[in-house]
Each structure stands twice: as structure tokens, then as C-alpha cells.
């Protein structure tokens, strides 16, 4: 696994503090969406289907920082939309780094090289450029519905690494993904020199155009088992090993929908990053007034039955690490041996 020790330590002490204080529900990663606008229209994305006035609008820097302070999570992920299209992305990242938040800037990298040359972002141990890469060239370009995107992303990754940035990749997998090609893809990404890779099965957004290629639970186990069994030593994953074992069908977890709370133009999204069932006016209202028992697999909610996405289950895996010796030991073993 490739999460830096300082980041592990920050997350570990944060989680332990929450547990010692008896806080039953706590956020782990804030999903901060400063805008919905994007320069791609990927078939699996349900985040960008809005009328023009919504796509033209974005959060103010003050709104973003207020949400970060309100939430208190040690990690802030900035997806979107395409966050590099946010006019104040440099100031936002700078302010988050100053607050010692670990930031994952999730970008398709189309604008990355240009932003790096302009000096908009500065390397920091708190900042990871998390590049959207859904597979090898042909697979990625097909997933993002545009040719040439893979090559531009690779070019941007090289440039970011050359400038001393932490670079990770984030990959969403859909039905039809080939385990063999994915293993080749892991080799290729590690060959580029990225710090680590993040994987997640896709979610069947009700508003995404492509509804036929989302993974069901059994297929997810099958795909991830084939991909990650006998994982090569050089492959580094920037996520909880217990979450990857869950994807492989080796663990059974329940969703933690409050683990990755989402803030965007509309407010605090209920109940999670994927479902939009309403918005709360404050983080406190989100945590206290959401009917959490209506979500997750055990609730019987049909929208949750096939979901195994990181934003619901990685928080569960991290919580498991700190809930007892077994989880802790299993995490240590997987982290240091690389065996999943």
C-alpha cells in the first residue's frame, strides 16, 4: 500500500479520537464539489446533467472553506465537475494545505499541464493529484467518450511527477472490464512512477446515460478477485487494503454513507456522494436529521443493493482497522506484505 506514513498517522489519530470520544458517526473524507461543469461527458457519469445556469455557477472560496471547517474531516477530495475549471482552484488548494488537510484533487488532467506551467498549484505532502484513468488507452478513451484523453493524461502525469507532485490515479471499473488488461494497466501506471492507484466499481447513477455497464455485486467480486489475486509487489494502492479485500469478496461490510459527506452548490447532499435525495443546510443538520437507517444494503433500499463504491465502503474498512485487533492486524499484514 502506498499511503504515506504521515497521512496514515493523521487518519489513525483522527479515527481513534472519534472512537474515544464515543462519536458514533464521523466523516472521514469530505467530497467537495466546487462546480458541476466538466470538459468531458463520460457515459458513466451522473454528475454533470444540469441546465446551463447550474453548470455556469460555482461555489465561492468562502463557501468551500466554511464547509471544510464545518465538516472537520482530515481528508478533502475535490471532484466535480472538473475541479481545474474552478477559477479559484489554486487558492482553494493552498488554503486546504495551510489547514493541513490531505487533499485529493480528482482531475481528468486535460488542463493539468497548463495549470502546472502557470504555477497554479504547488507541490506539497498534503496534496495528491488524483488522475482519472479508467484503463489502458483504448479502454480509457472509450470510458470518457473522447479519443486522445489517455495520452494527454499520461503527459500531464509525467509533468506533475517531474515537478515533484504526489500523483495517484483513480479508476472506476464497469462491467466488461478485462482483468488481464487491468493488470497491464497497473503495470503501466506504476511504470510511470505514480505513488499509488485507487480503484472502485462504478455506481449506476439514475441520470447517467450508460445504464447497461454497471457492475452487479457478484461480478464485482469476480472481477476484483481476478485482477488482484497474486497482486504484483510493485503495485501500490492508495487506499485501505481491507476495502480491496471487500471488493474481492473476502469481507462483508455494510455501507457508511456519512463517511464521505458531499458538499456542493446545493448544500450538504443527502445521504451520500451518489444518491441525491435532498440537501441539508448545514453539516450538523445532515448528520442529525438524515434517516441513515434507510440506506445501506441491510436497509433493503434497492438503490444500495449493488453499490460497493469507495465513498460508502472505504470508511467502513478504515473504521474496521481501528475497531479491534483483528482489523488492525489484517491491515498491517496487507500493508506490509502487499498480499490481499
Amino acid at each position: 500500500m502506498s499511503v504515506p506514513l504521515s497521512q496514515m498517522w493523521t487518519v489513525a489519530t483522527y479515527v481513534l479520537k472519534q472512537k474515544l470520544s464515543g462519536r458514533k458517526r464521523y466523516p472521514l473524507v469530505l467530497m467537495l464539489e466546487p462546480l458541476f461543469r466538466c470538459n468531458l461527458t463520460c457515459a458513466g457519469c451522473g454528475k454533470i446533467q444540469y441546465p446551463a445556469q447550474i453548470l455556469k455557477t460555482h461555489l465561492t472560496l468562502e463557501q468551500c472553506l466554511k464547509a471544510v471547517d464545518e465538516c472537520g474531516a482530515p481528508v478533502v477530495s475535490i471532484p466535480g465537475g472538473e475541479p481545474l475549471m474552478y477559477p479559484q482552484i489554486g487558492e482553494l488548494v493552498h488554503a486546504l494545505v495551510k489547514r493541513r488537510k490531505y487533499v485529493y484533487l480528482c482531475t481528468n488532467a486535460l488542463l493539468l499541464k497548463e495549470k502546472l506551467e502557470q504555477g497554479v498549484l504547488k507541490p506539497s505532502r498534503y496534496l495528491s493529484l488524483s488522475i482519472h484513468m479508467d484503463g489502458l488507452r483504448e479502454d480509457h478513451d472509450e470510458a470518457v467518450c473522447r479519443d486522445g484523453v489517455y495520452d494527454r493524461a499520461v503527459e500531464a502525469i509525467k509533468e506533475a511527477l517531474r515537478r515533484g507532485f504526489r500523483v495517484t490515479t483513480n479508476t472506476t471499473l464497469f462491467d466488461g472490464a478485462s482483468p488481464l488488461r487491468m493488470r497491464e494497466f497497473f503495470d503501466e501506471m506504476m511504470g510511470l512512477g505514480v505513488e499509488g492507484m485507487m480503484l472502485s466499481p462504478g455506481y449506476s447513477y439514475a441520470k447517467a446515460p450508460d445504464q447497461e455497464h454497471f457492475l452487479r455485486r457478484g461480478r464485482t467480486h469476480d472481477l476484483f478477485s481476478k485482477m488482484l489475486s497474486n497482486a504484483k509487489k510493485q503495485w501500490k494502492f492508495n487506499q485501505s487494503p481491507l476495502f480491496l479485500q471487500f471488493l474481492m469478496g473476502k469481507r462483508d461490510y455494510e455501507c457508511t454513507p456519512w463517511g464521505n459527506p458531499t458538499f456542493n452548490l446545493f448544500g450538504w447532499q443527502r445521504p451520500c456522494y451518489l444518491l441525491q435525495e435532498g440537501y441539508a443546510g448545514s453539516f450538523r443538520e445532515l448528520m442529525e436529521a438524515t434517516r441513515w437507517e434507510s440506506y445501506g444494503r441491510k436497509s433493503g433500499n434497492e438503490k444500495c443493493q449493488d453499490c460497493m463504491v469507495h465513498c460508502g465502503y472505504e470508511a467502513t474498512a478504515v473504521d474496521d482497522t481501528f475497531s479491534g485487533w483483528k482489523g488492525f492486524k489484517d491491515t498491517l499484514v496487507a500493508t506490509f506484505t502487499g498480499k490481499l
Binding site: 447550474i54 447497461e212 435532498g278 440537501y279
Partner: protein, 113 residues
């Protein structure tokens, strides 16, 4: 299937609350018709029918908002804007890609003009 262009008839078989739920789920602008006969066009992004005073929230077409309107002030909601989630861009992408591949192959086979 899209609700684009639909003007609901609220009555015995369709309540205002149901129409508002559909408007909340609609990825396009709608026109909220108020009981005082004024209208406001915009994107309904939130609704809370269980609040002490149920309300909707929207951004109008100029991007102003959030604007909060109680259910008690709403007569109807018309689905006037384009449904941005309608269509199947995945299929369109695959077809375009196949067409491009076929064109490329044809060009290679016929050689330079």
C-alpha cells in the same frame, strides 16, 4: 422516457407533492406556477415535504438562488426546460466510434487519392 414538455393536471389522481417530487428528480428547468398566478422558471434542486412548512428550493434561469418557495404557495409545476439527462450518449459514442473506424479502414484500403 422524459417528462420534458409535460404540464401535470393536479387532482384526485396526482397530488402537488407527487409532482414536486418528479420536478426534484428532473434534470432540467421547470416552471413553478404559484397560487397568485406568477411563475418562476428554474432548476428545483431540493424539496422537503416533511418540514414543518414544506418547501422547495431552486435556482432561477439567471442562476439566482437558492430561492425557497413553500408548498402552500405553489399551484403547479410545468416541465418546460430541456431534460439534460435524456438520450443515450453512450450509444451515440459507440456508433460514432464505429463509423470513424470504418471510415479510417475504408481510407486505408482505397489508398491516397
Amino acid at each position: 422516457m422524459t417528462l420534458q414538455g409535460w404540464v401535470p393536471e393536479i387532482g384526485e389522481f396526482l397530488t402537488l407533492a407527487e409532482v414536486i417530487d418528479l420536478a426534484f428528480d428532473y434534470r432540467g428547468n421547470t416552471t413553478v406556477v404559484k397560487v397568485d398566478e406568477t411563475e418562476i422558471e428554474g432548476y428545483v434542486f431540493n424539496r422537503d415535504r416533511e418540514a414543518p412548512e414544506p418547501f422547495i428550493q431552486l435556482f432561477d434561469v439567471a442562476g439566482n438562488g437558492p430561492i425557497r418557495i413553500p408548498y402552500s404557495e405553489i399551484r403547479n409545476v410545468k416541465f418546460t426546460g430541456r431534460d439534460t439527462a435524456a438520450g443515450n450518449s453512450w450509444q451515440a459514442w459507440l456508433e460514432r466510434r464505429e463509423r470513424e473506424k470504418a471510415d479510417k479502414t475504408a481510407r486505408l484500403e482505397t489508398g491516397p487519392a
